[in-house]
Assembly symmetry: C2
Homo-oligomer: 237 residues x 2
């Protein structure tokens, strides 16, 4: 059974309710959204599993209203599916949809890389280099979770370097949608060494101010990831 906060090391409060981080100035619905999206991305909530308004409301000790709003928020991010009068379920992405999403993501991340190549600053050069070094180190250590996080940092740095905050936002959202599936791929045999090599190609192209090469390198990187993911899923079904 997917217990949302089971691993979050969360502080618990009265009556066994899980606590919502008491972020001041933040609405309950928003707090719930963060909590639930985190649970989905981390895989604690399986795709396809049903989200019960009442159950979640009880679990967090709030009324149904903020829960409903949180569902709407997440539905807008394509993280849950709302079927009228039939409840909300964690969106389970079918292989066909994954292909489509990676196709779009490849293009968006490619655009990030292209823009980054035109706009890199000196400070950014050192920053990305430092991130990459840590990625290599994590790869040698073999700590998958750390590797995954640093990988995320690398891509995030490129989003920022594109200096297009709307693009960065869109790309981030998309990345988030497939996060639940991506995390599994990192564990595939050659994925770590491949990732490091592909990142190097991307980095070099950007640092060489070669937008086209940066674009295609990034596109290949993301597409390959998508292909790997599909292989992985195919092996299961």
């Amino acid at each position: 059974m997917a217990n949302i906060g089971a691993h979050s090391g969360g502080k618990r409060v009265k009556n066994g309710h899980e606590t919502l981080v008491a972020s001041p100035g933040m609405t309950l619905a928003e707090s719930l959204r963060q909590k639930l999206e985190g649970a989905i991305a981390a895989g604690h909530l399986e795709p396809g599993s049903r989200l019960d308004e009442q159950e979640i409301a009880q679990r967090f000790g709030v009324s149904r209203t903020p829960v409903r709003e949180a569902f709407r928020l997440m539905a807008a991010n394509n993280l849950v599916e709302l079927r009228g009068r039939q409840g909300a379920t964690v969106r389970s992405i079918k292989a066909q949809a994954l292909i489509e999403m990676f196709q779009v993501m490849a293009e968006l991340e490619g655009l990030c890389a292209r823009l980054a190549a035109r706009r890199v600053s000196q400070a950014w050069r050192t920053e990305i280099g430092e991130i990459h070094q840590r990625l290599v180190a994590a790869g040698e250590t073999g700590d998958i979770d750390v590797f995954y996080d640093i990988n995320q940092e690398f891509h995030e740095a490129i989003y920022e370097a594109s200096r297009n905050s709307f693009l960065a936002d869109q790309t981030r959202k998309l990345r988030n949608q497939v996060a639940a599936y991506r995390r599994r791929v990192t564990r595939m045999p050659n994925r770590i060494v491949d990732t490091v090599r592909e990142h190097e190609a991307i980095m070099q192209a950007i640092l060489a101010h070669d937008p086209e090469r940066a674009h295609s390198a990034m596109r290949d990187h993301v597409s390959l990831l998508g292909d790997n993911l599909l292989d992985f899923l195919a092996a299961f079904e």
Copy 2:
């Protein structure tokens, strides 16, 4: 208490209230969203103007709850801005943000065109031709609103032809976000004749199964629109 919804399925018409087309199987919140988004896209609701929960609830003769949900839905589409405890306002997009959005849109629509070029069917050839003919006719008539709608149809047809429903969705959403600003541009001097010419280039590339040319033609088309838009905005500020 007057229970307005005591009947099922009927159109709800209450004295002095605007009617909400009660599309069966559709929630009030969703109907409201469509209505309000339409009003925003059509320019009846100025960017920056405040949306009052109570006022809208009264105007449509519903309670605040579905209004709130509609706001959340629209906020997720980046059409309104929600500031905690400070109400909702129609999102006003700054020039900088518009540049960014058009950059992304150019890439996405470009991808649509590229995919379409690889996947056109015979039926689609005749369909797009028919749409284009109508566009030309509207251009000669000079009916701006009709022209605008047919233009939309043209792009929509290409979204569909990409056979990537996720991509189509994303692109549609983005187009919707800037719709309020775009509609003004159609009225600019040479926009109609330019549009027709550019559409022809795009169409030819797609029908010739030339993905790269289709991509760049579409990108130029959308980007040019962005440049025009910026001229338009610059003239105002």
